[in-house]
């Protein structure tokens, strides 16, 4: 694999060396619902165009459809402080799983990236005797929690099938070069550049956060983290990454995988409509939203946030209820984009014509095999008029 296909020349070069003074985080995601794969150039270009939203203390990428040759096996991307920690992890993994293949995650020396951890990937599967009554997925969750909370200096950063998370401390272009992101091909990509506010900028604290095939990138601050974390602990999910975002990945696993809620309902769990907005709803709707809020009040996410939550075949873009963080969405044929900034979507896909600004709490969902559409409420008036004429 080689470093090809980039259009590095168009990146805006900051000659003032003030790239550490900016604010906010930047996120970007797209899914090609036809399943067609795209190399990492587009996501790297997108996140790098929003470089000034971060400050070099964290960047990362999640890619889906990444390992077709191992599509039936769980791909564990791991970070270890040193080779000794990796040997310990290696022994642990071989004791608890059947390891099919393992190798270092290909990477290169990049100026500006200091003291990277040992990055390794394992392709593995649990054998039934090891799972002792747990489902396969629950066994993976249990093992990831155990490794992240009990093994010293080793962390599993992603653990899904046919997907992977690549992240670390650096600017988005540096992290991309470190992991050779443009060499990979995927039908869905998300990316992030971080401006850590309340918690340390360390390799495990970069986004995306993952568990099974979930990945989450986040801009903002989850003020309800304390209550959210305690609720997740009751369900066997331990927060170990020293920042708020990971709770969203675990909560997604709980309510969407284990409880089977569709993303549209999960959005109402994380960003429930305000009580007086519920008053305006029909009785049926009001009942549904009230029950959701009563059941899942402990994982309502409070505070300013925009997140992109992804799992195999599906991407959910969501902002907080009063939109204290930005989110733009756009569609071009089979591709759905969500981004912190509209300009970045136009930059990486100049053919995009339909873009819109979702409301706070409004889920933007892209699914493999479903052609994305601009929601009716956001379509330009001329188009609505045209469509209405067709139905008369």
């Amino acid at each position: 694999m080689t470093w090809t296909g980039t259009r590095m020349g168009i990146f805006q070069e900051n000659v003032y060396n003030d790239q550490k003074v900016f604010d906010a985080c930047g996120l970007f995601g797209f899914i090609d619902t036809s399943g067609c794969k795209h190399n990492g150039t587009r996501i790297v270009e997108a996140i790098t165009n929003m470089k000034e939203r971060g400050n070099g203390l964290g960047a990362g990428y999640a890619a889906y459809g990444l390992y077709p040759e191992f599509s039936e096996h769980y791909a564990f991307h791991v970070m270890c402080q040193d080779e000794r920690a990796r040997e310990e992890l290696d022994t642990y993994l071989r004791r608890h799983f059947a390891v099919v293949h393992d190798e270092p995650i290909p990477h290169r020396h990049v100026e500006g990236i200091l003291d990277p951890p040992v990055v390794w990937r394992y392709f593995l599967f649990p054998q039934s005797a090891q799972m002792v009554g747990r489902s396969e997925e629950d066994y993976i969750v249990h093992q990831v929690m155990t490794i992240n909370s009990q093994l010293d200096n080793s962390f599993v950063v992603s653990s899904g099938k046919n997907m992977g998370i690549f992240k670390g401390v650096g600017h988005p272009d540096e992290i991309a070069e470190f992991y050779k992101i443009t060499d990979y091909e995927a039908y869905m990509w998300t990316g992030h550049t971080r401006f850590p506010t309340n918690t340390p900028g360390w390799w495990g604290g970069a986004h995306p956060f993952g568990l099974l095939d979930w990945s989450v990138v986040h801009n903002g601050e989850i003020s309800s983290y304390g209550i959210n974390r305690r609720y997740m602990e009751m369900h066997g999910y331990l927060c170990t990454m020293r920042t708020d975002t990971e709770v969203v990945a675990y909560a997604s696993d709980l309510i969407m995988r284990r409880h089977g809620l569709p993303p549209e309902i999960a959005a109402a769990v994380f960003a429930s409509p305000l009580w007086d907005e519920m008053e305006e709803m029909s009785e049926d709707e009001k009942h549904v939203y009230r029950v959701i809020r009563q059941t899942y009040g402990s994982i309502l996410l409070n505070g300013p946030f925009t997140v992109i939550i992804a799992r195999a075949g599906e991407m959910l873009g969501l902002g907080d209820r009063v939109r204290l963080r930005p989110l733009a969405a756009a569609v071009n044929e089979d591709i759905l984009y969500v981004s912190s900034e509209l300009s970045t979507i136009s930059l990486v896909d100049p053919e995009v014509k339909d873009s819109w600004t979702p409301l706070g709490g409004e889920p933007i969902v892209g699914r493999l095999g479903q052609k994305p559409k601009v929601p009716r409420a956001h379509r330009a008036d001329e188009e609505v008029v045209k469509e209405e004429a067709l139905h008369v």
Binding site: G9, F11, N14, Y16, P326, E341, L359
Partner: protein
């Protein structure tokens, strides 16, 4: 290489210079260099600058105090025209958040939609958005005697329109709304304590902020609306009489100090 030497290599060179009109290619150019170049060209007496290929460069036009005309293609970044004092900006496409942040004088015309907080703390000048706008548009706009900022929005606004508004004029035309359809904005004028919001057609009373009330239109309101709606229609080549075809709702603050008693004891 010293920073000075690197700045001299700024790639943003005018690609086409014709007397008083100049065009610039923006791809790959960092916003500070772009702003420095705009300043240099305006100081040299250039009357019209066209920028092509913008992709999120922030704060454009921020340091200009000269009435120069700037035409923009592509998508400029956040805080377009922040603190701007005189220029006329026209954008052929959509824009992001913070357009006209604390702008003092001049105009911004957008042939598309805009993001959140258009006219944040705006103190003067005019902004015309052809289509829709995001949250908290006109937040904390203010006015001083007859220096009064104006924002005209052709489509609809998302929530918290005119939040903490302290002065100025917001006009929302709701072009895509049917005759009996109401504006979808919630919490309009929350914390508002000055200025006026005019919305073509009706608004949902239940979703007005607590600090704002509907009042009857006076003849001077009609005059003001006609003038700004005509300007809007000229910018976007529309029929002004169609945009003035139905009554407007006028919203004003109920008190100048909505929270005067909140923290008092």
């Amino acid at each position: 290489m010293s920073d000075r030497a690197r700045m001299d290599m700024a790639p943003a060179t005018p690609s086409d210079s014709e007397g008083e009109a100049v065009s610039i290619d923006a791809p790959g150019v960092y916003y500070k260099q772009l702003n420095e170049q705009l300043k240099r060209l305006a100081d040299e007496g250039v009357k019209e600058i066209t920028i092509f290929g913008l992709a999120g460069q922030r704060y454009l036009g921020t340091n200009l105090r000269i009435p120069v005309r700037i035409l923009m293609h592509g998508v400029p970044g956040n805080d377009l025209g922040a603190f701007m004092d005189g220029p006329q900006i026209e954008v052929f496409g959509g824009v992001q958040d913070g357009v006209g942040n604390t702008m003092n004088e001049g105009s911004i015309v957008v042939h598309g939609s805009a993001g959140d907080i258009v006219g944040h703390s705006m103190r003067g000048g005019e902004i015309y958005i052809r289509d829709n706008v995001g949250y908290r548009v006109g937040i904390h706009m203010k006015q001083y005697e007859d220096v009064r900022p104006v924002i005209v929005i052709g489509g609809t606004a998302q929530h918290f329109l005119g939040e903490y508004m302290a002065g100025g004029v917001l006009i929302v035309l709701g072009r895509q709304l049917a005759t009996d359809e109401r504006h979808p904005s919630h919490y309009i004028g929350t914390g508002m304590h000055g200025g006026a919001i005019y919305m073509r057609g009706g608004v949902k009373g239940a979703f007005l902020g607590q600090e704002v009330g509907l009042v009857p239109m006076e003849p001077e309101d009609e005059e003001l609306l006609e003038a700004y709606v005509r300007t809007y229609a000229e910018h976007f080549k529309m029929d002004a009489s169609r945009l003035l075809d139905r009554p407007f709702s006028k919203l004003v603050p109920l008190t100048k100090r909505p929270y005067g008693r909140l923290y008092a004891y």
